[in-house]
């Protein structure tokens, strides 16, 4: 029975029957189907990255970040390739900055309560549930909310209104990642800290938060990248501005709205700027994601 011939023939026999069996054919078909699915899913990403880079680099130069958007120009105009979107870069920093100032402390303090004081309670369950529901609220509804809350009352589109809308958008991401990060901090640290006579807030601020900070930063980076690319909540809160603006109570240009406004115009020089702005946004998202992975991996 154990002679090599029999073993070989047995093996051959089995592999022979498997080859013709309908089971094997079915398995092979299914396996090729899911591989096809994976390839199909990656085609849009590869195509999108390719076109954004290929079309975006045409205009990539320092003047993009220092000049104002040009008027629409025909291709033969000598000024055709001039102009940039410096005001939109500044505006993006302003709106996302305001959003971060609101959402980061809000989110981290809320997650301290969820992870440190109310862990495994009914209240924490309810708030976690509401956080998830909040993250499912369409971003344009956040814009409608900020419009009703701020734009209508101040009678002006403003960077501040957009900041509030984006803050609501960032909040669930920050709360979820920060809560997870805090819950991952080992209990020994808490016990050691309390054993040394530290009070709750000392333990949280000096021991737990520093231990969890890399994962919290990861969540914050991803939230900021997402907010910078969001257009829907900004489109009628910050509106747009063709000029430099540093006043948070006035209409403000952002990169994402610039992509939208310029993409749907028939003017080639504006379309080129839209592609360049898209490249900046995609680069931001890519860098943020890679950075976030690096931070997580180093832990």
């Amino acid at each position: 029975m154990t002679s090599p011939e029999i073993t070989t023939s047995l093996a051959q026999g089995r592999s022979l029957t498997r080859k013709v069996s309908s089971k094997t054919i079915f398995s092979n078909i299914m396996t090729s189907l899911v591989i096809a699915c994976a390839i199909l899913a990656l085609i849009p990403l590869v195509a999108l990255l390719y076109y954004v880079i290929a079309q975006g680099v045409v205009r990539l130069s320092p003047q993009l970040f220092t000049q104002l958007p040009p008027p629409p120009l025909p291709r033969d105009n000598p000024q055709f390739s001039y102009g940039g979107f410096g005001n939109a870069v500044v505006g993006t920093f302003m709106t996302v900055g305001i959003a971060s100032l609101i959402a980061i402390p809000f989110g981290i303090l809320a997650s301290v309560y969820l992870a440190e004081f109310a862990r495994d309670t009914k209240l924490a369950d309810v708030i976690n549930f509401l956080t998830n529901v909040l993250s499912g609220v369409p971003s344009i509804v956040m814009g409608v909310f900020a419009y009703g809350l701020i734009v209508v009352k101040t009678r002006s589109y403003s960077a501040f209104a957009a900041g509030v809308a984006l803050a609501v958008l960032m909040l669930p991401t920050i709360v979820r990642t920060a809560t997870e990060a805090l819950e991952a901090v080992p209990n020994n640290l808490r016990q050691a800290s309390v054993g040394l006579g530290a009070s709750n807030y000392q333990t949280v601020l000096r021991v737990i938060l520093p231990a969890a900070i890399p994962a919290i930063i990861t969540g914050v980076i991803l939230a900021i990248a997402r907010a910078a690319g969001e257009t829907a909540p900004v489109i009628f809160t910050a509106l747009f501005n063709n000029f430099w603006n540093l006043d948070i109570w006035r209409p403000t240009a952002t990169l994402s709205v610039l992509v939208y406004n310029f993409a749907i115009t028939p003017f080639a020089n504006w379309q080129e700027l839209a592609w360049a702005a898209a490249l900046v946004l995609v680069a931001l998202v890519l860098i943020a994601n890679i950075l976030a992975r690096q931070i997580i991996r180093r832990r």
Binding site: A118, V133, F145, T231, L281
Partner: protein, 319 residues
């Protein structure tokens, strides 16, 4: 001269007093912010509902939902075209994205590929979710629409007798919005399905293998049925996202104000309506837009709450 014991107890007494105030103050502060999340959600609903009141009073519920005229000049507002567009684009997007997303989830949760290939694949699929919506819109206008023009025209010429393909494709329309939505919701479906598949108890798989089942028999008859509620939860979350997605849809759907049975016809969605008209709206139009936003909010809220409920049930089952 106080004794050591007195001094010690005095010290500890003083410390606990200040510490207690600061400590409970800190705890209450964090409580306030945690509660603030719920308050934010309520405020959003409240704000949108309050601002919609003039339109709710004027048009009621039935007239607003079934009306097909959205006419700012005559102050007549009915949102059926947009509601229909929202539902149809989301549904077609699911039809495309669910099978592909499930396939991706299977490949990312099974060991078809070596980890060195699998891990970058996971990252790339996640990246698909991080690309800004407006960039998808830009890409859709200038790359995907021209690319699809040929095949879609062919479908129209040969199958135009079917009402679904009865209008010539123009590069903007229900079909473009649906395809771009499918790309955008694919990562949600695949990542949540993958988590559900990977969360299935390994003993089940071993038992199926032990009974002589092949990998695919195990997957289809054991693993997927066990993970199905998680997969459904993921699909529901994707549906919620698709209904609320704005920029890419606004740029690609054509923004017509009349519903058409044809997929190649231009259409509109609630979010596209909001994106297009809010900046220039006034008076009753603002209230009507708020009303439309309220309907979108309620629709997505229902879908998301149901999804969260299903997904949370699954997490409990896994333990």
């Amino acid at each position: 001269m106080a004794s050591t014991a007195e001094r010690l107890s005095g010290m500890s007494y003083e410390r606990t007093q200040t510490a207690r105030v600061v400590d409970s103050g800190f705890k209450w502060l964090t409580w306030l912010f945690a509660i603030g999340i719920g308050v934010t959600l309520l405020t959003i609903a409240f704000q949108v509902a309050i601002d919609a009141i003039p339109a709710i009073q004027k048009f009621g519920i039935i007239d607003f939902i079934t009306g097909v005229r959205w006419n700012p000049v005559e102050d007549i507002f009915g949102a059926w075209t947009q509601i229909y567009g929202t539902l149809v684009t989301s549904f077609i997007a699911l039809l495309i994205a669910v099978p592909i997303g499930l396939g991706v989830a299977i490949i990312l949760s099974e060991d078809f590929l070596p980890p060195k290939v699998q891990q970058p694949l996971v990252f790339m699929v996640e990246l698909l979710a991080a690309i800004p919506s407006v960039v998808y819109g830009l890409w859709g206008i200038f790359v995907l629409a021209p690319f699809l023009q040929g095949p879609m025209t062919w479908i129209h010429q040969n199958f135009g007798w079917i009402p679904l393909f009865s209008t010539p494709p123009t590069g903007r329309g229900i079909y473009m919005a649906s395809i771009i939505l499918a790309i955008m919701i694919l990562p949600i479906i695949s990542s949540i399905s993958r988590d559900s598949l990977a969360g299935v108890n390994p003993a089940l798989r071993q038992a199926a293998y032990g009974l002589g089942a092949t990998r695919w028999e195990t997957l289809i008859q054991v693993i997927i049925p066990t993970a199905i509620s998680g997969i459904i939860g993921g699909v529901m979350l994707a549906l919620g996202r698709a209904m609320g997605e704005t920029m890419a849809v606004t740029m690609l759907i054509g923004n017509a104000n009349r519903p058409s049975p044809s997929l190649f016809a231009q259409g509109s969605t609630i979010s596209a309506l909001l994106a297009n008209q809010f900046a220039e709206a006034s008076g009753l139009q603002v209230a009507s837009l708020m009303y439309a936003a309220l309907i979108l909010f309620i629709l997505t809220l229902l879908v998301n709450v149901l999804a969260e409920y299903i997904v949370s049930k699954v997490e409990i089952k896994k333990l």
